[in-house]
Amino acid sequence: MTPKALTISQFFFKKRLHLTLLVLILGLAYVVSSIGLGFQTTALFHAQDGLIWLLHNFIPNAESMRYWQDIGHQLVRTFLIAVTSTTCAAVISLFLAALGANTLSLNNAVTWFIRGFSSLMRNIPIVAWAMILLFSFKQNDLTGFLALFFMTMGFLTRAFMETIEDFGMDKIEALQATGANYLQVIFQGLLPEIAAALLSWVLYMIENNVRDATLVGLLTGTGIGFIFDLYFKGMRYGAAGLVVLAVIILVVGVEVISNLIGRLIE
Protein backbone atom coordinates (compact mmCIF):
# COMPACT_ATOMS: atom_id res chain seq x y z
CA MET A 1 0.00 0.00 0.00
CA THR A 2 2.69 2.49 1.08
CA PRO A 3 4.84 2.33 -2.07
CA LYS A 4 1.78 2.89 -4.22
CA ALA A 5 0.66 5.93 -2.18
CA LEU A 6 4.15 7.28 -2.53
CA THR A 7 4.08 7.04 -6.31
CA ILE A 8 0.77 8.83 -6.44
CA SER A 9 2.05 11.76 -4.42
CA GLN A 10 5.22 11.72 -6.48
CA PHE A 11 3.11 11.83 -9.59
CA PHE A 12 1.21 14.92 -8.47
CA PHE A 13 4.35 16.54 -7.14
CA LYS A 14 5.89 16.09 -10.57
CA LYS A 15 2.85 17.59 -12.27
CA ARG A 16 2.95 20.62 -9.99
CA LEU A 17 6.66 20.99 -10.56
CA HIS A 18 6.14 21.07 -14.32
CA LEU A 19 3.50 23.77 -14.00
CA THR A 20 5.69 25.87 -11.73
CA LEU A 21 8.59 25.55 -14.13
CA LEU A 22 6.43 26.61 -17.03
CA VAL A 23 5.27 29.75 -15.21
CA LEU A 24 8.86 30.57 -14.23
CA ILE A 25 10.07 30.14 -17.79
CA LEU A 26 7.36 32.44 -19.13
CA GLY A 27 8.18 35.05 -16.47
CA LEU A 28 11.86 34.84 -17.31
CA ALA A 29 11.14 35.19 -21.01
CA TYR A 30 9.22 38.39 -20.33
CA VAL A 31 11.95 39.89 -18.18
CA VAL A 32 14.71 39.01 -20.65
CA SER A 33 12.84 40.31 -23.66
CA SER A 34 11.75 43.56 -22.03
CA ILE A 35 15.30 44.26 -20.89
CA GLY A 36 16.55 43.44 -24.35
CA LEU A 37 14.11 45.89 -25.90
CA GLY A 38 14.57 48.54 -23.24
CA PHE A 39 10.83 48.41 -22.78
CA GLN A 40 9.38 49.30 -19.44
CA THR A 41 5.94 48.13 -18.41
CA THR A 42 5.43 51.45 -16.66
CA ALA A 43 5.52 53.11 -20.07
CA LEU A 44 2.05 51.71 -20.58
CA PHE A 45 0.74 54.13 -17.94
CA HIS A 46 1.88 57.09 -20.01
CA ALA A 47 0.25 55.73 -23.15
CA GLN A 48 -2.87 57.79 -22.41
CA ASP A 49 -1.42 60.97 -23.92
CA GLY A 50 -0.93 59.21 -27.22
CA LEU A 51 -4.40 57.72 -27.04
CA ILE A 52 -6.01 61.11 -26.45
CA TRP A 53 -4.27 62.55 -29.48
CA LEU A 54 -5.41 59.53 -31.48
CA LEU A 55 -9.02 59.86 -30.43
CA HIS A 56 -9.02 63.58 -31.05
CA ASN A 57 -7.73 63.36 -34.60
CA PHE A 58 -9.11 60.07 -35.87
CA ILE A 59 -12.76 60.53 -34.94
CA PRO A 60 -14.50 60.82 -38.31
CA ASN A 61 -16.15 64.24 -38.64
CA ALA A 62 -18.73 65.66 -41.01
CA GLU A 63 -15.99 66.58 -43.45
CA SER A 64 -14.72 63.02 -43.73
CA MET A 65 -18.19 61.69 -44.52
CA ARG A 66 -17.63 62.88 -48.09
CA TYR A 67 -15.37 59.85 -48.56
CA TRP A 68 -17.76 57.12 -47.55
CA GLN A 69 -18.64 56.19 -51.10
CA ASP A 70 -15.01 55.64 -52.06
CA ILE A 71 -14.45 53.74 -48.87
CA GLY A 72 -17.49 51.54 -49.39
CA HIS A 73 -16.36 50.72 -52.91
CA GLN A 74 -12.87 49.68 -51.79
CA LEU A 75 -14.28 47.80 -48.84
CA VAL A 76 -16.36 45.60 -51.11
CA ARG A 77 -13.38 44.91 -53.34
CA THR A 78 -11.23 43.96 -50.38
CA PHE A 79 -13.94 41.70 -49.04
CA LEU A 80 -14.36 39.96 -52.39
CA ILE A 81 -10.63 39.36 -52.68
CA ALA A 82 -10.58 37.82 -49.22
CA VAL A 83 -13.52 35.55 -50.03
CA THR A 84 -12.34 34.42 -53.48
CA SER A 85 -8.78 33.79 -52.36
CA THR A 86 -9.99 31.72 -49.41
CA THR A 87 -12.47 29.63 -51.37
CA CYS A 88 -10.04 28.96 -54.22
CA ALA A 89 -7.37 27.95 -51.72
CA ALA A 90 -9.86 25.74 -49.87
CA VAL A 91 -10.63 23.64 -52.95
CA ILE A 92 -6.98 22.99 -53.68
CA SER A 93 -6.19 22.43 -50.00
CA LEU A 94 -8.84 19.76 -49.71
CA PHE A 95 -7.35 17.92 -52.63
CA LEU A 96 -3.83 18.20 -51.21
CA ALA A 97 -4.96 17.24 -47.71
CA ALA A 98 -6.68 14.09 -48.97
CA LEU A 99 -3.45 13.07 -50.70
CA GLY A 100 -1.27 14.05 -47.75
CA ALA A 101 -3.21 12.72 -44.76
CA ASN A 102 -1.47 9.79 -43.09
CA THR A 103 -4.63 7.76 -42.73
CA LEU A 104 -5.53 7.90 -46.42
CA SER A 105 -2.12 8.20 -47.89
CA LEU A 106 -1.37 6.14 -50.93
CA ASN A 107 2.30 6.94 -50.87
CA ASN A 108 4.71 8.15 -48.19
CA ALA A 109 6.75 10.34 -50.51
CA VAL A 110 3.61 12.26 -51.55
CA THR A 111 2.67 12.75 -47.91
CA TRP A 112 6.05 14.21 -47.01
CA PHE A 113 6.13 16.44 -50.05
CA ILE A 114 2.70 17.90 -49.30
CA ARG A 115 3.50 18.40 -45.63
CA GLY A 116 6.70 20.24 -46.49
CA PHE A 117 5.08 22.33 -49.19
CA SER A 118 2.16 23.40 -47.02
CA SER A 119 4.34 24.30 -44.09
CA LEU A 120 6.54 26.40 -46.37
CA MET A 121 3.52 28.26 -47.78
CA ARG A 122 2.10 28.83 -44.34
CA ASN A 123 5.25 29.97 -42.61
CA ILE A 124 6.12 32.72 -45.04
CA PRO A 125 4.48 35.77 -43.42
CA ILE A 126 1.73 37.39 -45.41
CA VAL A 127 3.75 40.62 -45.59
CA ALA A 128 6.66 38.78 -47.15
CA TRP A 129 4.33 37.14 -49.66
CA ALA A 130 2.98 40.54 -50.63
CA MET A 131 6.45 42.04 -51.07
CA ILE A 132 7.73 39.10 -53.12
CA LEU A 133 4.70 39.04 -55.38
CA LEU A 134 4.83 42.79 -55.80
CA PHE A 135 7.95 42.37 -57.91
CA SER A 136 6.34 40.07 -60.43
CA PHE A 137 2.73 41.25 -60.45
CA LYS A 138 3.07 44.98 -59.63
CA GLN A 139 0.44 47.01 -57.84
CA ASN A 140 -2.58 45.03 -58.72
CA ASP A 141 -5.51 43.25 -57.14
CA LEU A 142 -4.00 40.00 -58.35
CA THR A 143 -0.96 40.49 -56.12
CA GLY A 144 -3.13 40.73 -53.02
CA PHE A 145 -5.20 37.81 -54.16
CA LEU A 146 -2.15 35.61 -54.67
CA ALA A 147 -0.54 36.56 -51.37
CA LEU A 148 -3.67 35.61 -49.46
CA PHE A 149 -4.15 32.55 -51.64
CA PHE A 150 -0.72 31.02 -50.98
CA MET A 151 -0.79 31.65 -47.25
CA THR A 152 -4.33 30.33 -46.93
CA MET A 153 -3.54 27.27 -49.00
CA GLY A 154 -0.68 26.36 -46.67
CA PHE A 155 -2.76 26.93 -43.59
CA LEU A 156 -5.87 25.10 -44.77
CA THR A 157 -3.96 22.14 -46.17
CA ARG A 158 -2.51 21.57 -42.72
CA ALA A 159 -5.83 22.13 -40.94
CA PHE A 160 -7.73 19.86 -43.34
CA MET A 161 -5.08 17.19 -43.06
CA GLU A 162 -5.45 17.14 -39.29
CA THR A 163 -9.23 17.07 -39.57
CA ILE A 164 -9.01 14.06 -41.87
CA GLU A 165 -6.54 12.30 -39.58
CA ASP A 166 -8.77 12.83 -36.55
CA PHE A 167 -11.55 11.06 -38.37
CA GLY A 168 -11.70 7.46 -37.23
CA MET A 169 -10.31 4.74 -39.47
CA ASP A 170 -13.08 2.39 -38.36
CA LYS A 171 -15.75 4.19 -40.37
CA ILE A 172 -13.54 4.13 -43.43
CA GLU A 173 -13.08 0.40 -42.91
CA ALA A 174 -16.80 -0.14 -42.53
CA LEU A 175 -17.29 1.24 -46.03
CA GLN A 176 -14.32 -0.66 -47.43
CA ALA A 177 -15.92 -3.80 -46.03
CA THR A 178 -18.97 -3.25 -48.25
CA GLY A 179 -16.69 -3.36 -51.28
CA ALA A 180 -16.56 0.41 -51.83
CA ASN A 181 -13.42 1.69 -53.54
CA TYR A 182 -11.09 4.52 -52.52
CA LEU A 183 -12.92 7.45 -54.08
CA GLN A 184 -16.33 6.15 -53.02
CA VAL A 185 -15.13 5.86 -49.44
CA ILE A 186 -13.85 9.44 -49.53
CA PHE A 187 -16.99 10.95 -51.03
CA GLN A 188 -19.60 8.83 -49.23
CA GLY A 189 -17.90 8.45 -45.88
CA LEU A 190 -15.13 10.93 -45.18
CA LEU A 191 -16.54 14.11 -46.71
CA PRO A 192 -20.01 13.98 -45.12
CA GLU A 193 -18.41 13.39 -41.74
CA ILE A 194 -15.92 16.22 -41.91
CA ALA A 195 -17.89 18.74 -43.99
CA ALA A 196 -18.95 20.79 -40.97
CA ALA A 197 -15.41 20.97 -39.63
CA LEU A 198 -14.04 21.97 -43.05
CA LEU A 199 -16.61 24.71 -43.42
CA SER A 200 -15.77 26.18 -40.04
CA TRP A 201 -12.09 26.32 -41.00
CA VAL A 202 -12.99 28.10 -44.23
CA LEU A 203 -15.16 30.63 -42.38
CA TYR A 204 -12.39 31.24 -39.88
CA MET A 205 -9.97 31.84 -42.73
CA ILE A 206 -12.34 34.27 -44.46
CA GLU A 207 -12.53 36.33 -41.26
CA ASN A 208 -8.80 36.23 -40.95
CA ASN A 209 -8.24 37.16 -44.58
CA VAL A 210 -10.57 40.16 -44.44
CA ARG A 211 -8.22 41.55 -41.80
CA ASP A 212 -5.10 40.51 -43.67
CA ALA A 213 -6.43 41.86 -46.96
CA THR A 214 -6.38 45.33 -45.41
CA LEU A 215 -2.73 44.95 -44.50
CA VAL A 216 -1.81 43.46 -47.86
CA GLY A 217 -3.65 46.31 -49.62
CA LEU A 218 -1.48 48.76 -47.72
CA LEU A 219 1.61 47.16 -49.20
CA THR A 220 0.37 46.42 -52.70
CA GLY A 221 -1.50 49.70 -53.09
CA THR A 222 -4.92 48.21 -53.64
CA GLY A 223 -8.25 48.06 -51.88
CA ILE A 224 -9.10 49.49 -48.52
CA GLY A 225 -5.51 49.40 -47.31
CA PHE A 226 -4.49 51.67 -50.15
CA ILE A 227 -7.00 54.42 -49.44
CA PHE A 228 -6.17 54.28 -45.76
CA ASP A 229 -2.57 54.94 -46.72
CA LEU A 230 -3.67 57.70 -49.07
CA TYR A 231 -5.78 59.55 -46.52
CA PHE A 232 -3.27 59.03 -43.77
CA LYS A 233 -0.36 60.44 -45.73
CA GLY A 234 -2.58 63.25 -46.92
CA MET A 235 -3.20 64.04 -43.25
CA ARG A 236 -6.92 63.50 -43.71
CA TYR A 237 -7.05 61.74 -40.38
CA GLY A 238 -10.82 61.86 -40.08
CA ALA A 239 -11.21 59.97 -43.35
CA ALA A 240 -8.53 57.50 -42.30
CA GLY A 241 -10.44 56.99 -39.07
CA LEU A 242 -13.56 56.30 -41.10
CA VAL A 243 -11.65 53.63 -43.03
CA VAL A 244 -10.63 51.95 -39.77
CA LEU A 245 -14.21 52.09 -38.56
CA ALA A 246 -15.43 50.56 -41.83
CA VAL A 247 -12.90 47.71 -41.56
CA ILE A 248 -13.96 47.02 -37.99
CA ILE A 249 -17.61 46.89 -39.01
CA LEU A 250 -16.79 44.55 -41.89
CA VAL A 251 -14.72 42.20 -39.75
CA VAL A 252 -17.34 42.06 -37.02
CA GLY A 253 -20.05 41.56 -39.64
CA VAL A 254 -18.17 38.66 -41.22
CA GLU A 255 -17.65 37.14 -37.80
CA VAL A 256 -21.33 37.39 -36.93
CA ILE A 257 -22.38 35.89 -40.24
CA SER A 258 -19.90 33.04 -39.98
CA ASN A 259 -21.12 32.29 -36.46
CA LEU A 260 -24.66 32.17 -37.80
CA ILE A 261 -23.69 29.81 -40.60
CA GLY A 262 -21.76 27.67 -38.12
CA ARG A 263 -24.80 27.36 -35.90
CA LEU A 264 -27.02 26.53 -38.86
CA ILE A 265 -24.99 23.49 -39.86
CA GLU A 266 -25.11 22.02 -36.36
Partner: protein, 254 residues
Protein backbone atom coordinates in the same frame (compact mmCIF):
# COMPACT_ATOMS: atom_id res chain seq x y z
CA UNK B 1 -19.82 -22.28 -46.78
CA UNK B 2 -17.02 -20.53 -44.88
CA UNK B 3 -13.88 -22.53 -44.25
CA UNK B 4 -11.01 -21.06 -42.29
CA UNK B 5 -7.91 -23.22 -42.50
CA UNK B 6 -4.67 -22.86 -40.55
CA UNK B 7 -4.97 -19.11 -40.26
CA UNK B 8 -1.97 -17.44 -38.74
CA UNK B 9 -1.37 -13.80 -37.93
CA UNK B 10 1.22 -11.72 -36.16
CA UNK B 11 0.95 -7.93 -35.92
CA UNK B 12 4.55 -7.25 -35.00
CA UNK B 13 6.34 -10.20 -36.55
CA UNK B 14 7.18 -11.76 -33.18
CA UNK B 15 4.14 -12.34 -31.04
CA UNK B 16 1.50 -14.46 -32.72
CA UNK B 17 -2.05 -13.22 -32.31
CA UNK B 18 -3.41 -16.24 -34.16
CA UNK B 19 -1.68 -19.59 -34.22
CA UNK B 20 -3.21 -22.07 -36.62
CA UNK B 21 -6.93 -21.31 -36.45
CA UNK B 22 -9.29 -23.62 -38.36
CA UNK B 23 -13.08 -23.89 -38.30
CA UNK B 24 -16.04 -23.99 -40.67
CA UNK B 25 -19.40 -22.25 -40.71
CA UNK B 26 -22.30 -23.89 -42.58
CA UNK B 27 -24.91 -22.09 -44.69
CA UNK B 28 -27.66 -20.54 -42.60
CA UNK B 29 -25.82 -21.26 -39.39
CA UNK B 30 -25.33 -18.86 -36.50
CA UNK B 31 -21.84 -19.35 -35.12
CA UNK B 32 -20.47 -17.54 -32.09
CA UNK B 33 -16.81 -16.95 -31.32
CA UNK B 34 -16.20 -16.57 -27.60
CA UNK B 35 -13.04 -16.17 -25.58
CA UNK B 36 -11.22 -13.82 -23.24
CA UNK B 37 -10.16 -10.31 -24.18
CA UNK B 38 -7.13 -10.33 -26.44
CA UNK B 39 -7.75 -13.93 -27.53
CA UNK B 40 -7.86 -12.96 -31.21
CA UNK B 41 -11.59 -12.84 -31.95
CA UNK B 42 -11.48 -9.49 -33.75
CA UNK B 43 -8.37 -10.55 -35.62
CA UNK B 44 -10.14 -13.64 -36.98
CA UNK B 45 -13.18 -11.69 -38.11
CA UNK B 46 -11.17 -8.98 -39.85
CA UNK B 47 -9.02 -11.57 -41.59
CA UNK B 48 -12.09 -13.12 -43.13
CA UNK B 49 -12.95 -10.04 -45.20
CA UNK B 50 -9.27 -9.10 -45.40
CA UNK B 51 -9.50 -5.79 -43.58
CA UNK B 52 -6.21 -7.02 -42.21
CA UNK B 53 -3.79 -9.11 -44.19
CA UNK B 54 -3.00 -12.31 -42.38
CA UNK B 55 0.26 -14.14 -42.74
CA UNK B 56 -0.63 -17.73 -43.55
CA UNK B 57 -3.57 -20.04 -44.11
CA UNK B 58 -6.74 -20.02 -46.18
CA UNK B 59 -10.09 -18.30 -45.91
CA UNK B 60 -12.47 -20.06 -48.28
CA UNK B 61 -15.85 -18.53 -48.97
CA UNK B 62 -17.74 -20.99 -51.18
CA UNK B 63 -14.38 -22.41 -52.26
CA UNK B 64 -13.01 -18.97 -53.21
CA UNK B 65 -9.85 -18.11 -51.29
CA UNK B 66 -10.18 -14.55 -50.02
CA UNK B 67 -6.45 -14.32 -49.51
CA UNK B 68 -5.54 -14.91 -53.14
CA UNK B 69 -7.63 -12.13 -54.69
CA UNK B 70 -6.40 -8.96 -56.34
CA UNK B 71 -7.87 -5.60 -55.51
CA UNK B 72 -10.95 -5.65 -57.74
CA UNK B 73 -11.65 -9.31 -57.07
CA UNK B 74 -11.48 -8.62 -53.36
CA UNK B 75 -13.87 -5.71 -53.77
CA UNK B 76 -16.28 -8.07 -55.46
CA UNK B 77 -15.88 -10.82 -52.89
CA UNK B 78 -16.47 -8.36 -50.05
CA UNK B 79 -19.96 -7.71 -51.36
CA UNK B 80 -20.84 -11.22 -50.20
CA UNK B 81 -19.78 -10.44 -46.66
CA UNK B 82 -21.72 -7.95 -44.54
CA UNK B 83 -20.09 -6.57 -41.43
CA UNK B 84 -21.55 -5.18 -38.21
CA UNK B 85 -19.50 -3.36 -35.59
CA UNK B 86 -19.66 -2.67 -31.89
CA UNK B 87 -19.58 1.07 -32.55
CA UNK B 88 -21.95 0.78 -35.51
CA UNK B 89 -19.53 2.76 -37.74
CA UNK B 90 -22.29 4.57 -39.57
CA UNK B 91 -21.70 7.90 -41.29
CA UNK B 92 -23.46 9.93 -38.63
CA UNK B 93 -24.39 13.13 -40.50
CA UNK B 94 -26.09 11.12 -43.23
CA UNK B 95 -29.63 9.79 -42.96
CA UNK B 96 -30.49 6.18 -42.17
CA UNK B 97 -31.48 5.42 -45.74
CA UNK B 98 -28.25 6.88 -47.15
CA UNK B 99 -26.27 4.66 -44.81
CA UNK B 100 -28.23 1.62 -45.91
CA UNK B 101 -27.58 2.50 -49.55
CA UNK B 102 -23.85 2.38 -48.85
CA UNK B 103 -24.39 -1.37 -48.88
CA UNK B 104 -24.61 -1.32 -52.66
CA UNK B 105 -21.51 0.82 -53.32
CA UNK B 106 -19.59 -2.35 -54.10
CA UNK B 107 -21.45 -2.97 -57.35
CA UNK B 108 -21.55 0.66 -58.48
CA UNK B 109 -19.19 2.46 -60.79
CA UNK B 110 -16.87 4.94 -59.08
CA UNK B 111 -18.77 7.95 -60.43
CA UNK B 112 -22.19 6.61 -59.53
CA UNK B 113 -20.87 5.91 -56.04
CA UNK B 114 -19.36 9.36 -55.62
CA UNK B 115 -22.51 11.19 -56.65
CA UNK B 116 -24.96 8.86 -54.89
CA UNK B 117 -26.63 7.84 -58.16
CA UNK B 118 -28.70 4.96 -56.84
CA UNK B 119 -31.41 3.27 -58.89
CA UNK B 120 -35.05 3.66 -57.92
CA UNK B 121 -35.20 -0.07 -57.18
CA UNK B 122 -32.23 0.23 -54.84
CA UNK B 123 -33.81 3.11 -52.98
CA UNK B 124 -37.03 1.16 -52.57
CA UNK B 125 -35.13 -1.85 -51.35
CA UNK B 126 -33.25 0.24 -48.79
CA UNK B 127 -36.54 1.55 -47.45
CA UNK B 128 -37.95 -1.97 -47.25
CA UNK B 129 -34.91 -3.15 -45.34
CA UNK B 130 -35.32 -0.34 -42.86
CA UNK B 131 -38.96 -1.33 -42.42
CA UNK B 132 -37.85 -4.89 -41.92
CA UNK B 133 -35.58 -3.94 -39.02
CA UNK B 134 -38.37 -1.78 -37.61
CA UNK B 135 -37.01 1.63 -38.61
CA UNK B 136 -39.36 2.57 -41.45
CA UNK B 137 -40.23 5.83 -39.70
CA UNK B 138 -36.61 6.81 -39.22
CA UNK B 139 -35.45 6.51 -42.84
CA UNK B 140 -34.90 10.25 -43.30
CA UNK B 141 -33.39 10.92 -39.85
CA UNK B 142 -29.74 11.71 -39.46
CA UNK B 143 -28.06 8.72 -37.84
CA UNK B 144 -26.48 10.90 -35.17
CA UNK B 145 -29.96 11.37 -33.71
CA UNK B 146 -30.68 7.65 -33.42
CA UNK B 147 -30.24 5.53 -30.29
CA UNK B 148 -27.56 2.84 -30.10
CA UNK B 149 -30.01 0.02 -30.76
CA UNK B 150 -31.47 1.87 -33.73
CA UNK B 151 -28.00 2.56 -35.13
CA UNK B 152 -27.12 -1.10 -34.87
CA UNK B 153 -30.25 -2.02 -36.81
CA UNK B 154 -29.30 0.51 -39.50
CA UNK B 155 -25.96 -1.30 -39.55
CA UNK B 156 -27.77 -4.60 -40.11
CA UNK B 157 -29.83 -3.09 -42.92
CA UNK B 158 -26.64 -1.77 -44.53
CA UNK B 159 -25.17 -5.27 -44.40
CA UNK B 160 -28.37 -6.78 -45.87
CA UNK B 161 -28.28 -4.28 -48.73
CA UNK B 162 -25.18 -6.14 -49.91
CA UNK B 163 -27.22 -9.36 -50.35
CA UNK B 164 -24.56 -11.10 -48.29
CA UNK B 165 -23.98 -14.81 -47.95
CA UNK B 166 -22.19 -14.21 -44.68
CA UNK B 167 -22.53 -11.56 -41.98
CA UNK B 168 -19.65 -10.89 -39.61
CA UNK B 169 -20.50 -9.21 -36.30
CA UNK B 170 -17.82 -7.92 -33.95
CA UNK B 171 -19.44 -7.65 -30.52
CA UNK B 172 -22.65 -6.24 -31.97
CA UNK B 173 -24.39 -5.87 -28.61
CA UNK B 174 -21.51 -4.84 -26.37
CA UNK B 175 -22.72 -1.21 -26.25
CA UNK B 176 -26.43 -1.95 -26.05
CA UNK B 177 -28.99 -2.28 -23.26
CA UNK B 178 -30.58 -5.74 -22.71
CA UNK B 179 -33.74 -4.94 -24.65
CA UNK B 180 -31.94 -3.63 -27.75
CA UNK B 181 -29.51 -6.55 -27.47
CA UNK B 182 -32.34 -9.05 -27.64
CA UNK B 183 -33.83 -7.28 -30.63
CA UNK B 184 -30.52 -7.25 -32.50
CA UNK B 185 -29.74 -10.89 -31.71
CA UNK B 186 -33.20 -11.98 -32.73
CA UNK B 187 -32.96 -10.11 -36.01
CA UNK B 188 -29.66 -11.83 -36.78
CA UNK B 189 -31.06 -15.23 -35.87
CA UNK B 190 -34.06 -14.65 -38.13
CA UNK B 191 -31.83 -13.75 -41.08
CA UNK B 192 -30.03 -17.05 -40.73
CA UNK B 193 -33.28 -19.01 -40.67
CA UNK B 194 -35.26 -17.11 -43.29
CA UNK B 195 -32.60 -15.99 -45.77
CA UNK B 196 -30.04 -18.74 -45.15
CA UNK B 197 -27.35 -16.21 -44.43
CA UNK B 198 -24.50 -17.52 -42.30
CA UNK B 199 -23.81 -15.34 -39.29
CA UNK B 200 -20.51 -15.30 -37.44
CA UNK B 201 -20.62 -13.32 -34.19
CA UNK B 202 -17.92 -12.35 -31.70
CA UNK B 203 -19.53 -12.34 -28.30
CA UNK B 204 -18.53 -11.84 -24.70
CA UNK B 205 -21.60 -13.38 -23.06
CA UNK B 206 -21.62 -17.16 -22.81
CA UNK B 207 -25.35 -17.39 -22.04
CA UNK B 208 -26.31 -15.28 -25.06
CA UNK B 209 -24.11 -17.43 -27.28
CA UNK B 210 -25.85 -20.54 -26.00
CA UNK B 211 -29.24 -18.94 -26.54
CA UNK B 212 -28.78 -17.73 -30.11
CA UNK B 213 -25.95 -19.71 -31.67
CA UNK B 214 -26.07 -23.15 -33.28
CA UNK B 215 -22.34 -23.52 -33.18
CA UNK B 216 -19.77 -22.16 -30.76
CA UNK B 217 -16.07 -21.63 -31.33
CA UNK B 218 -13.93 -21.00 -28.26
CA UNK B 219 -10.70 -19.05 -28.74
CA UNK B 220 -7.95 -18.58 -26.24
CA UNK B 221 -4.45 -17.26 -26.88
CA UNK B 222 -4.95 -17.27 -30.64
CA UNK B 223 -5.98 -20.92 -30.73
CA UNK B 224 -9.25 -22.77 -31.15
CA UNK B 225 -9.90 -24.49 -27.83
CA UNK B 226 -13.55 -25.43 -28.39
CA UNK B 227 -15.54 -26.10 -31.57
CA UNK B 228 -18.90 -27.81 -31.24
CA UNK B 229 -22.69 -27.50 -31.10
CA UNK B 230 -24.01 -24.91 -28.69
CA UNK B 231 -25.55 -27.65 -26.52
CA UNK B 232 -22.11 -29.16 -25.97
CA UNK B 233 -20.90 -26.02 -24.23
CA UNK B 234 -21.21 -27.00 -20.59
CA UNK B 235 -20.28 -24.63 -17.81
CA UNK B 236 -17.01 -26.48 -17.32
CA UNK B 237 -16.23 -26.21 -21.01
CA UNK B 238 -16.99 -22.49 -20.91
CA UNK B 239 -14.74 -21.99 -17.88
CA UNK B 240 -12.05 -23.85 -19.78
CA UNK B 241 -12.29 -21.44 -22.71
CA UNK B 242 -11.84 -18.44 -20.43
CA UNK B 243 -8.95 -20.04 -18.56
CA UNK B 244 -6.18 -17.54 -17.93
CA UNK B 245 -3.21 -19.86 -18.02
CA UNK B 246 -3.64 -20.57 -21.71
CA UNK B 247 -3.15 -16.90 -22.46
CA UNK B 248 -0.24 -16.72 -20.07
CA UNK B 249 1.42 -19.76 -21.63
CA UNK B 250 1.15 -18.14 -24.99
CA UNK B 251 2.90 -15.02 -23.73
CA UNK B 252 5.51 -17.03 -21.86
CA UNK B 253 6.32 -18.90 -25.06
CA UNK B 254 7.33 -15.71 -26.85
Amino acid sequence: MLEVKHLMKSYDGHKRSLTDVSFTVATGEVAAIIGPSGAGKTTILRSINQLIKDDEGQVLLNELDMRQLNRSQLRQARQNIGMIFQNYNLIEPLTAIENVLHGCLGNKSTLAGIFSLYRQSEKEEALQLLQKVGLGNFAYQQCRHLSGGQKQRVGIARALMQHPKLILCDEPIASLDPKSSTLVMETLRQLAIEEHISVLINLHQVDISRQYADHIIGINGGQVVFDDHAEALTDTAAAQIYRKDLVLNEEAAV
